[in-house]
Symmetry: C2
Subunit: 130 residues, 2 copies
């Protein structure tokens, strides 16, 4: 089990690199620096462009630069882009078995852990990492 996937990990490191250099960075450069497969990196950056985390520039000398402040890019934001909703447990029992979610001790305990994790992942942003 992993909370953070490769997608997210590569994305975070790419954003960090771009954030440090404060200029347009090409996929080729990121691939050289981070050592991840080129087509995969491209796909990741394209998604970050679509989600308006990065801004892309086509053509020769093209590449990507940050579109928003590194302070505004939290880890959870990137995780949600690549991993969808972050949750610990959706309560797998059928509704008629566990009719009252409010009384389920397991669910409550787990929910509080989840809240903690999300709060922490929300606090960490790119500016804090570079």
């Amino acid at each position: 089990m992993k909370l953070i996937t490769r997608n997210t990990d590569y994305a975070l490191r790419a954003i960090c690199y771009i954030s440090i250099h404060q200029r347009i960075v090409s996929v080729a450069e990121l691939v050289r620096v981070l050592g991840v497969p080129q087509p995969f990196m491209r796909k990741i950056l394209q998604k970050l462009n679509q989600q308006k985390i990065l801004q892309s520039f086509k053509g020769s000398n093209g590449g990507f630069k940050l579109k928003i402040s590194p302070h505004k890019i939290s880890i959870i934001k990137i995780m949600r882009i690549f991993q969808g909703r972050i949750g610990i447990n959706g309560c797998f029992l059928k509704k008629d078995i566990c009719p009252n979610r409010g009384k389920c001790v397991l669910r409550k305990k787990i929910q509080s852990i989840e809240d903690n994790v999300i709060r922490q992942l929300t606090q960490i942003n790119i500016a804090a990492l570079v």
Copy 2:
């Protein structure tokens, strides 16, 4: 993304039920009460038997009962049985790219969150749930 899978969830609820009733409980009964597929439940209980969380009794009137105290059964223990090692991120970069793990800020931050989660999951045991 989910931190807790169905496997683990069903296992926890089955253990809770057995813990409350303090007697030998058959798969058939658990299936009736929890409403999960019988062969799947069997597989889960067999694993808990192998891991010495439960003790099985074969033959007519057979079933499962707790083998260890509910205080000693933490959520993390069950998660590890069904989901393997619990980690947030194994650091996906190749070793030569990220030679000094000690200096990686991302890794450090994530590690501290992971430690938190594991600490909390370790504290919650079956006795606290029932």
